[in-house]
Symmetry: C2
Amino acid sequence: MGKKEKQLVGVKEIARRAGVSIATVDRVLHNRSGVSERTKTKIQAIIKDLNYQPNLLARRLASGKTLNLVTLIPEVSEETDYWSVPLEGVLQAEKEIQPYNVKITKLFYDMNNRESFVNQTQIILNDKVDGVLLAPAFIDEAIEFTDICQERKIPFVFINSDIPNQKSLCYFGPNLYHSGYSVAHLVNYLIEKDDKVLLVNISKDIGADHHILRKEEGFKAYLKDHDIKEPIQLSITETDYPSVQKSMSSAFKKHPDIKLVFVTNSRVSKVAKYLASIGREDIILIGYDFLSENIKYLENRTIDFLICEKPQEQAYRGVRALYQKLVFEVDIESEYFMPIDIITKENCQFYKN
Amino acid sequence: MGKKEKQLVGVKEIARRAGVSIATVDRVLHNRSGVSERTKTKIQAIIKDLNYQPNLLARRLASGKTLNLVTLIPEVSEETDYWSVPLEGVLQAEKEIQPYNVKITKLFYDMNNRESFVNQTQIILNDKVDGVLLAPAFIDEAIEFTDICQERKIPFVFINSDIPNQKSLCYFGPNLYHSGYSVAHLVNYLIEKDDKVLLVNISKDIGADHHILRKEEGFKAYLKDHDIKEPIQLSITETDYPSVQKSMSSAFKKHPDIKLVFVTNSRVSKVAKYLASIGREDIILIGYDFLSENIKYLENRTIDFLICEKPQEQAYRGVRALYQKLVFEVDIESEYFMPIDIITKENCQFYKN
DNA sequence: CTGAAAGCGCTTACAG
DNA sequence: CTGAAAGCGCTTACAG
């Protein structure tokens, strides 16, 4: 490493030019009160003139402050281990910014329990917190919580799904409509005209499942835009395997000539299990998310394509955005849509969530 | 931000416990000479005991050193603007680590001029340099250069293409063989058995073009592994449009029933131009790289799939790896293969290079 | 082989 | 409204 050529501009130099002490310069730098308008203007002019860039290392070292960030996402459940992936992203970001005096408190709630969400937000609000990362599964409660954050000027980011107009610092997640639209585009390459397509939704409360609804909408919109006939639809409202098996079985009885199945979320592995059990790996199966259960079926070619929108990176970027904002006062774009990745048996070994 | 609870362990505390001065602790911390074996052992025990983690902010602030990194990649040429993308990655990384006293010198060479590469490596070697990022287009010259780097203990990373066994800190780039293999897997979904596939190589010196050769190898291997008949092949050794047009034209005269064309690099836009000119957008066209020229043809559906391996991220990660190694002494994995991304008209708007 | 002192560029009480 | 001084946790000459 080379010796640093003497830093040309620092608080010292500004103070010298203004004929004041560095303490006063510091006050102006941080918009603190107790400086006469006259000195303030003078110092500001010098700061601008010198194009002063504060030394952030020194700033953080001297202040001796710790940045307190909180993440609140669903806990890993037996239903799906999806949420272990965003958590990885939080941990990765934590590892990287740890050296800069940042503390990340990781809180979790139960996706099937509205109250658990509210409880955790209470905990956050009772603590001294500088920034929040949130996966807002319960919309109303999330709005209530983030309204308070906004009052207190605590920046927050959403991941996984957005609540528009809620003044979040940023949203990191999929564009769900386009995700479905893109899948249909791919499907268009994979089937012949008039081939039967089955669209499967698996969720306990499909009507409230924003993810599923928007993807389905996009998927169908593409078909309509391109004069492709509508898919057959199947809604499965119990997520255990026997329920999936039963529903799939009756659908296939009715439509034995289905060529392609599209499952609108990560439960695709259950459909894969069914297709494997009846020896119909020839049917093209498309679903969501790079989870070990799904990859297993991708590798044995029961699943043909997995769509994935980098859940780990969502959380990673979310934490970093908070850090950038709070430490460097960097402006953050208010929306960051993740890429819509297409994963196959052959490229999956290089995929990064 | 919360006040930091008093840091429990620092050089001061270690010095106190060892009954020595902090200067001596510092010497042990950095393995500098001039400490008796006895004190050294004692101090090391205490360091371990306290699980001492140095404050990196303080370290960099006090040392007053600047880290000098150099990047050496091809310049943007009229042939292709591919290399503007990795440059973006360098600039992004620079922006992020700028606050930590890192200087990045960006050097470029002419892909068609071996000498220009050597000249630039000379410049690097004459300077005080802490780490190097290199896109090693000229293998022999790159080996010679990196041998010297190794002697001088200057860490270096490769991007875009690897030179195995050269003891680089890391390689960030595609696994070319698997890239071709993955494309063939995709092709398998897109054609019927016995459909004709045309494989097109466009390069001034195909025999020396590692990228093309390995991708072709992987592509053919898949076909062989899956009993699919061999592709028709076309080699075009002049990269201007008239030459491409001429070669394509005669290939299509010979094989009017070609169903799918695979171009093994970013020159796919020239083939797209040809297919558009003869009104054969129905032919499935697959090529490489997320470049504006290619995206144009993707959007009008002349190109159907673009394969991309995140050239921006390659460079970004390369720079960060050097930084992590030099500042934090973090261990770096010696190979990082980029994902093999499949881009279509519909998901391209969210793609990140 | 070892230590006392100055300093990196800031922030933070405290005093006036 | 303003400044002198101490300090953040290290590193770096310099002296012995």
